[in-house]
């Protein structure tokens, strides 16, 4: 291979992390190759999915445009709901504010096949405006099956009989991180307790009907997370409003699913039968099913070293995800890590130093951003949320209190001071347990 064929950087994977890295690099006038195994960027990509925070808008300023048609995202989340469910009841906290309708938006719902396709177009435009309009490219429909190594340094990629060389590689291959594992940055086998299985159905409605169902105005949207609907399996459900569809699904701890001997689609089916969900689906049509493994936010999934000579790992491949119980942040973390890796490549090119000791600065940069700061700071929340009582006993407790309080049955009524001890006793809870849970929640969330 001639040196003129060599890229400054090859990015493996056209998800939000890889596309963010590629965009920043193309804008900085580097010669890049992004390789995606799907037929377009987004074709293989799945998420819940709400993209939280300003990172996406910051990296792709065109997202701030006013879109009259062909908006790459679905809705602006101005309504947050959190529901605690028992088998027969649901208690929902409902928060709505137009303060979240200011750019850059606090959260947007996305369908990744569309969203990542648009990001890919942004990368292609950035390439076209760079000095490497003819040399850089986004290549789709190609599976990268190996990293090329020379003296423990990554020098390129292999895809079947083809090889491509580069000064460095950004590995943005997602949570099923075969390349990261093959080069030893991630352990060869990743334990089920560090990941969850997400499954999702997209349901389509007449847009006016959807807006009426959820009291949505214009392009504003609602996100609802649910706990207590998983038959005791660690995890929860979600419902996000898109333009004329909803994303309805569950994320289930994989080790817990294995232990409880539950099938994810059976849990989703019974969730769909719940009196709080069933009427929502009336007049709707299920138009797409999908599933994907997700990191659960445990820092043990994050490789100790996110870099080696000639390579860096970003996004889900690096196990980056934050679940504080308030929001599940994965895509914003992926995009920020992609951007920080790109900044590192830009510096490395200036110095012509792609050694392990220089690429270490990627991890140092990431440690200064919300990505690693929040993940480390909220590890207590990961443990707190994994308390098995969160998935059945506590949501049941909340619903029982309200059902008793709201019951009018023609008998003399009990006061709350009588109802509460009665339920605590019935459900084998203790004041100490409830108090310590409340305190732990306060300290960790």
């Amino acid at each position: 291979m001639q040196d003129s064929d060599k890229f400054d950087c090859i990015i493996v994977g056209g998800g939000v992390a890889g596309l963010s890295a590629a965009y920043v690099l193309a804008k900085a006038n580097l010669k890049i190759l992004l390789v995606e195994r799907g037929d377009w960027t987004g074709a293989k990509n799945v998420s819940g999915g709400v993209l939280w925070g300003p990172t996406a808008f910051d990296i792709f300023p065109a997202l701030l445009n006013d879109f009259s048609a062909d908006c790459p995202y679905e809705r602006v989340i101005t309504n947050r709901r959190l529901s605690f469910m028992s088998e027969t009841s649901a208690t929902t906290f409902d928060f709505k504010t137009d303060n979240f309708y200011k750019k850059p938006y606090n959260g947007i719902s996305v369908l990744r096949s569309r969203f990542d396709k648009w990001l890919g177009q942004q990368v292609e435009e950035a390439i076209a405006e760079s000095d490497f309009a003819e040399d850089s490219l986004v290549a789709t429909g190609i599976l990268v099956d190996r990293l090329l190594l020379e003296d423990n340094k990554v020098v390129g990629i292999g895809a079947g009989e083809d090889t491509f060389s580069s000064d460095c590689v950004i590995i943005a291959e997602g949570v099923n991180s075969l390349l990261t594992r093959a080069v030893g940055l991630q352990t060869g086998f990743v334990e089920a307790e560090l990941v969850g299985t997400g499954i999702k159905e997209v349901w389509q409605f007449d847009q006016d009907m959807l807006e009426a169902k959820f009291q949505l105005e214009g392009d504003k949207g609602m996100s609802n997370e649910f706990v207590g609907c998983t038959q005791g399996v660690e995890g929860g459900a979600f419902l996000y409003t898109n333009k004329d569809t909803i994303s309805l699904g569950m994320v289930l701890g994989l080790a817990a699913l294995r232990e409880h001997k539950k099938a994810p689609y059976d849990l989703l089916d019974s969730f769909k039968q719940h009196p709080a969900i069933r009427p929502i689906l009336k007049h709707g049509k299920m138009v797409e099913y999908s599933a994907h493994v997700v990191p659960v936010g445990d820092i043990r999934l994050v490789p100790k070293k996110l870099y080696m000579s000639g390579a860096m790992v970003v996004g889900d491949a690096a196990g980056l995800l934050l679940n504080t119980g308030k929001a599940i942040e994965g895509m914003n973390m992926a995009m920020e890590s992609g951007r920080q890796a790109a900044y590192t490549v830009i510096d490395a090119k200036k110095r012509q130093d792609y050694s392990e000791s220089f690429l270490k600065s990627y991890q140092e940069r990431l440690a200064e951003t919300f990505v690693l700061k929040d993940m480390i700071r909220f590890q207590g929340a990961v443990k707190f949320i994994h308390n098995p009582a969160m998935f059945d006993r506590y949501p049941l407790f909340v619903n029982t209190i309200l059902e008793r309080a709201f019951t009018v049955d023609g008998k003399p009524k009990k006061k709350m001071t009588e109802i509460l001890p009665e339920i605590i006793k019935e459900q084998n809870l203790s004041y100490w347990e409830l108090l310590s849970t409340a305190v732990k929640g306060g300290l960790n969330l």
Binding site: G160, L254, P264, E288, V293
Partner: protein, 92 residues
């Protein structure tokens, strides 16, 4: 409202490769696996016990990675479908 896995999979475009991208050593499942969990954790129901033997088919796979992580017995050899093959989500 309960939907079969088959009906769910109809909604996903899949250009199935002739070559299996996942290979399962089913003799491990049959002889020494204590849970055979892939039969229920796989969202596409690619693993089934038929006549008390584990059967695996890759054709319905939607490339989620569940079996890669759920199998702790070393029975699952997992890769992605060849270039140009496998699922394409129109929404994702």
């Amino acid at each position: 409202m309960s939907t079969s896995v088959k009906d769910r999979l109809i909604t996903v475009k899949n250009n199935i490769s002739k070559k299996a991208h996942i290979v399962v050593k089913t003799e491990i499942c049959d002889t020494r696996c204590p849970h055979q969990c892939t039969t229920y954790v796989c969202p596409a129901k690619c693993f089934e016990i038929i006549e008390s033997k584990m059967r695996f088919q890759y054709e319905d796979c939607i490339e989620c990675g569940t079996c890669l992580h759920a199998c702790d017995q070393g029975a699952v050899s997992w890769t992605f479908p060849d270039s140009g093959h496998g699922v394409s989500f129109k929404l994702g």
